[in-house]
Symmetry: C2
Subunit: 342 residues, 2 copies
DNA sequence: GTTAGCACTCAACGTCATCGAGTGCTAACG
DNA sequence: CGTTAGCACTCGATGACGTTGAGTGCTAAC
């Protein structure tokens, strides 16, 4: 059996309705509401076909139909009408975004809030992979006897810091000097290549070998850890509770637990590189707890090579059109704002 | 009517039971369970008295009794038996705490997780007030044409950064020089007094007046904003959903919304200075959404003058004993770990 | 091919009786 | 006189049961 024009129209009407109401959709509803001028009986026949094809399901015999994952997939790929945001909205979002743009992390945090406010779902933003950033500056600051804070500033304006031990007898001026050398040698190196650069440094360093060794270790640790919790930012985690699919406390809890596991989120969003919006519906995503959620992601750019990911997590019956528009816009806006720092 | 020994014992037994089960407690239960060897009838009489005194309440006539806020207050002040953590537990917590102690923010984040894991409630930690920290180092790092990143390192090892505009024509070396001067002049100033110090600098500065002005503005902004979202860290927000008092989705939602509002949390925890554990039960706290929660807080020290707050938010029937022990221990542990950086 | 009609299904809802945990009161007990 | 056994009473929780209504599938007529 093939899908003809009418089936498409009916399926679309069902999904549109279900997205709004979260209630199984009956033939009568479609017959009345949609522009398709057919009687309930006709619709029923079509619905029966659609069910057989795996696009619809019935919670129980005497209920209406509910779209399947397959239906959502078809919907986002072919049926959905996409719309642009009004310029008014764009403006408002952009304004919120730059309202505290003094710091990279602040911008990302605002972006998460803007996203979740605009969509009423939960937003997640992953900061750019550190490995692709370039070092701008390295500074060792004495904070105590034999202890220094190493601050690494990257080209994206992102600052990473770590406490390291330093050999005895180094005073502020020594550290200052070492910082100069480090900055000179490492400037414009991508963090990824830093191991090589450091090895060179070490080979030639007649002194302070231990200190440099420790510094290298710290930088590497940062890299392989894939960043710490602070580079996954979640916004609007309470929003999901608005939706009837989460009125079951257990579902809500397991959802919230996932949001607390930054590792899972980082894996979930992954960096898919392109600026294209990506959509994973229900079981298409790898995290079992989120198998009845959909995840829509886009990416943003910082500088030339680094990309981060921003995404929305919501029920499978989410308003894909809206979410895609918002993410698309915000991805660009975020890239613009953050690339000013470049 | 006065509370005699027996009434105390009975009240304590009721609260102990209610804390565990969250179910109204009947006379029979108390008669059987507690060491108080009296018949249900006697207990009933006493309970009736306790109710009249405002320590107990009945959800409905044929139900058991539930402790009132007044009862919890009495409980934590006089009845509760306090216990120490096992050394095993202390060790485990301490270990988790230092597991990623390379960064101040990392430590605080771990601490929040340890707290919520150990108590099964929600934890909140507020970083020290910036105003009381002292500047260790100021560094301007060029990130783009006419743009620099200003990094301020404090004595607590906390790093704050902000993008500022710089006048045209300043190259990396100029910024380096200016950083030196700034650091020289501002080192060991508390952030609070920085305005004065800066004013002096400005008066004498024959050049770069604009740049310094902007830098001052940024620092001040940081101060008056009371810090940004990143210095309030929440852990275990999903934990609360385990408890029957939050099986109502609306309650859960309003609770989670409060957790998202960092401003409210900051106000709620406030810095109460002393290392003493403070307990606010139900309506004793100022946030209406949390009027059926209790909030237990302690404080930790960074360096000599700065203090931050750590707290647990849970249902009024929380396990006060456990929570107090954990907070007390963690307050000290956190102080120790963070003061190593001093 | 479309639709009106109709019997059928089944969750949701309201009603009603039952059950039992818990109370308050009274009278008896040591 | 404090304590306790006994007892009638209250009231939420639970489950059985009938009703309602939205929705379906099938058949026959248009």
């Amino acid at each position: 059996m093939q899908l003809d024009e009418r089936k498409y129209r009916i399926l679309q009407a069902i999904i549109d309705d279900y997205i709004m109401t979260a209630m199984p959709v009956g033939s009568r509803t479609i017959s009345r509401k949609s522009g398709v001028g057919f009687s309930p009986a006709t619709i029923r026949n079509e619905m029966s076909d659609l069910e057989e094809l795996g696009y619809l399901a019935q919670p129980h015999t005497s209920a209406g139909r509910v779209p399947s994952y397959k239906a959502y997939r078809l919907y986002v790929d072919h049926l959905m009408k996409t719309s642009k945001l009004t310029s008014d909205e764009r403006e408002r979002m952009h304004e919120h975004l730059i309202s505290r743009s003094k710091q990279v992390e602040g911008v990302i945090r605002s972006a998460a809030n803007v996203l979740s406010d605009a969509t009423k779902y939960t937003s997640v933003i992953v900061a750019p992979k550190l490995g692709t950033l370039r070092i701008k500056h390295v500074q060792l600051v004495p904070v105590a006897e034999r202890t220094a804070l190493m601050v690494i500033v990257t080209n994206a304006g992102i600052v990473k810091d770590a406490i390291i031990r330093v050999p005895e007898g180094l005073d502020a001026d020594d550290l200052y000097g070492i910082s100069r050398i480090l900055t000179q040698r490492l400037a414009d190196q991508p963090l990824e290549g830093v191991r090589q650069a450091f090895a060179d440094l070490l080979r030639n360093a007649e002194q302070n070998r231990r200190l440099l060794g420790e510094a290298l270790q710290v930088i590497e640790q940062r890299l392989e850890a894939g960043g710490d919790a602070s580079d996954v930012i979640v916004g609007g985690s309470a929003n999901l509770l608005e939706y009837p699919e989460y009125s079951d406390v257990n579902k809500a809890r397991s959802f919230l637990s996932v949001l607390e596991s930054k590792d899972t989120l980082r894996k979930l969003l992954g960096s898919q590189g392109s600026m294209e919006v990506s959509i994973r519906i229900g079981p298409e995503n790898q995290v079992p707890e989120l198998n009845d959620c959909s995840i829509v992601t886009a990416s943003y750019r910082v500088g030339d090579h680094s990309t981060g990911t921003l995404g929305i997590i919501g029920p499978t019956r989410m308003n894909y059109n809206r979410v895609i528009s918002v993410l698309d816009f915000m991805g660009r806006a975020l890239s613009d704002v953050l690339s000013e720092y470049k």
